[in-house]
């Protein structure tokens, strides 16, 4: 039981990080960024390259890869979203342009690293076991949970205590009002993409370390789950995304333990579907925002 809870928290922390990035962009721009999963993947490969080719220790490679992911996010915004922003159907065309970029990024990864599964070298992160009440956890799992928690705290601090954070929230509230108040909306949106992609990249590196299985299509399995998490948490709600991320992680672990692995995704999506029909505002979302 304790073992399962730890496993669930561990998986959930990765989902939560990934979904936080997703929901951040959604909250600010009302669009879904389908390239988020590709950045998740690309950051993992970046960390892998730093560790294997340049012999970085993982504790340097992780922040470097996160920074890289953030920069890719800024480029993504420039190429795929900014040109479409004034269009009436920007939420549909943005979906497609981000998908196009995702395809290109995946092609790049395929070209550079090939379709096979790559792995971090043994010993990148210690997997020594630590006994806890009710089970055993690896140091790797604890490290991942700790990194995730630090990133949640850093993001919270950034959004509530810094100028750019307040501006991001102002633009999310109302882009027009923010512009009237003198906020540089372009810069805020670029920052949002940086933060979002950095979080997605962090989730990717942690995922790569956790499962040690890195491939150009690794983002696909997380992409739809990220959607499930942001819906469950209430789209645009960051505490909701974290809560729902952990909830999904725990649910998956318990479903696998009690029903079997093949039911894992079915239960998540049935839950997602029911939430949307019964409580469309999600667990922590504001009511009324998403009905016509």
């Amino acid at each position: 039981m304790g073992q399962q809870i730890i496993n669930g928290l561990f998986l959930g922390s990765i989902y939560a990080l990934f979904a936080l990035g997703y929901t951040l962009v959604f909250g600010v721009l009302d669009i879904l960024n389908l390239a988020h999963a590709a950045i998740f993947m690309l950051a993992t490969f970046a960390a892998l390259a730093l560790v294997t080719t340049f012999h970085f220790p993982i504790f340097l490679a992780l922040p470097a890869a996160v920074l890289f992911a953030g920069l890719v996010g800024i480029v993504l915004e420039r190429v795929a979203f900014r040109p479409l922003r004034s269009r009436a159907d920007s939420n549909i065309s943005g979906l497609i342009s981000s998908l196009a970029v995702a395809t290109i990024l995946e092609a790049v990864a395929l070209e550079v690293w090939g379709p096979n599964i790559s792995r971090f070298p043994i010993g990148t992160l210690s997997d020594a076991r630590v006994a806890i009440p009710g089970g055993v956890v690896s140091r790797l799992q604890l490290t991942i949970i700790a990194v995730a928690v630090v990133m949640f705290l850093a993001l919270t601090w950034l959004l509530t205590r810094t100028r750019i954070g307040r501006e991001v929230r102002a633009v999310a509230e109302s882009p027009r009002a923010a512009r009237v108040l003198g906020v540089n909306v372009d810069r805020v949106i670029a920052s949002t993409f940086f933060l979002s992609s950095a979080l997605g990249g962090a989730a990717g590196v942690l995922f790569g370390l956790a499962f040690n299985s890195i491939s150009p299509d690794m983002g696909r399995s997380v992409e739809l789950k990220g959607l499930a998490v942001i819906i469950l948490g209430g789209m645009g709600s960051m505490p909701g995304a974290v809560l729902a991320g952990f909830l999904l992680g725990l649910t998956e672990v318990f479903v696998v333990a009690h029903l079997g692995a093949s039911w894992r995704d079915a239960v998540s999506f049935a839950g997602l579907f029911l939430i949307l029909v019964l409580r469309p505002q999600g667990l922590l979302g504001a009511a009324g925002a998403r009905e016509a």
Binding site: S93, L95, I96, V101, T103, A107, L276, R290, E291, A292
Partner: protein, 302 residues
């Protein structure tokens, strides 16, 4: 000459068939887009149509026409109880809810022993001809084309442009949106039933998220403002990889990842520079030549 033509047909029969199937699928997304709704449950509807038709053909041994009919009607029936709650959602929320529905359908099939789970069903008798696919496509185009400019077509455009205003014109917007969802489901189901009897097999993973994204891409890249747009988009994007495969080696592009990148690049360029899709290309070029802005711009003509 005829021999070479037959040869060509033999090689590309599958591609030609897929141009038609993808055209139907693109139209299935176009139906809901035409009233401004981004509903992405069509991979699920397609799966329902495909499995229903296959089971009727293989287990109940009913005539193929009846299988097709069931594969068309069943998804439309499922769309009604689905649409009643989810069509209250707007924009991306509707999209995600319907994606969730599609995944529920796919994963239920994966977990159903009765239909052979993730393995799917194989050795389905091939009953679909390319001619039949294009007959179905022509019928769908004719049907949707007739709606354009009619009382119903104007109501759909009104809903797309301003739903609350449309309601004050006396248009029952909920009923219209539900009808278009059901019509889209029927088209997707028909395409699924046709495809299953065209390719010998069905498997749940053929009906994943990628599949519905493809449908949306066909529709938007072709141009979702006119009936022909999605059909042109489907033909263009189905042929593109084939053409690239033929042409790429000649210009020194190796097959594989680079071709995938070109695919993505073309998609990006179309969405960035042709907001009304490929079908608007001719108009854009003509406007450039005569130095005028394309029609549909916002500037006043007074």
């Amino acid at each position: 000459m005829t021999e070479r033509l037959a040869d060509f047909y033999g090689t590309y029969q599958s591609t030609i068939g897929y141009i038609g199937l993808n055209g139907l699928l693109a139209l299935s997304v176009y139906t809901t887009l035409s009233c401004g709704q981004l509903a992405l449950g069509n991979a699920g509807f397609m799966a329902i149509g495909a499995y229903a038709a296959v089971l009727l053909t293989m287990e109940a041994h009913v005539p193929f026409g009846l299988s097709l009919l069931a594969g068309t009607l069943l998804p439309a029936l499922v769309a009604v109880p689905l649409g009643l709650p989810v069509l209250r959602l707007k924009g991306v929320f509707l999209a995600i809810a319907t994606i969730g529905f599609g995944e529920v359908v796919r994963l239920s099939l994966v977990n159903s022993e009765a239909v052979n789970g993730a393995q799917g069903i194989v050795a389905i008798p091939q009953k679909t001809s390319v001619g039949l696919i294009f007959a179905a496509l022509a019928l769908a185009v004719a049907l949707l084309g007739r709606l354009k400019g009619s009382k119903w077509g104007f109501a759909l455009e009104a809903i797309r442009e301003d739903e609350p205003a449309a309601r004050t014109m006396g248009i029952p917007t909920g009923a219209y949106k539900l009808s278009m969802l059901a019509l889209g489901a029927a088209l997707a189901g028909l395409a699924g039933a046709l495809e299953a009897h065209f390719t010998f097999m069905v498997a749940p993973n053929g009906f994943g998220f990628d599949r519905v994204v493809d449908m949306l891409v066909f529709a938007v890249v072709g141009g979702s403002g006119v009936v022909f747009g999605p059909v042109v988009g489907a033909a263009f994007l189905t042929l593109l990889p084939e053409v690239l495969r033929e042409v790429a080696p000649m210009v020194g592009i190796e097959p594989g990842p680079l071709r995938m990148a070109v695919d993505g690049l073309v998609l990006l360029l179309v969405i960035l520079f042709l907001p009304n899709g490929i079908v608007s290309l001719a108009g854009v070029i003509r406007a450039r030549r005569s130095g005028r802005r394309p029609a549909g711009g916002t500037e006043s003509t007074r």
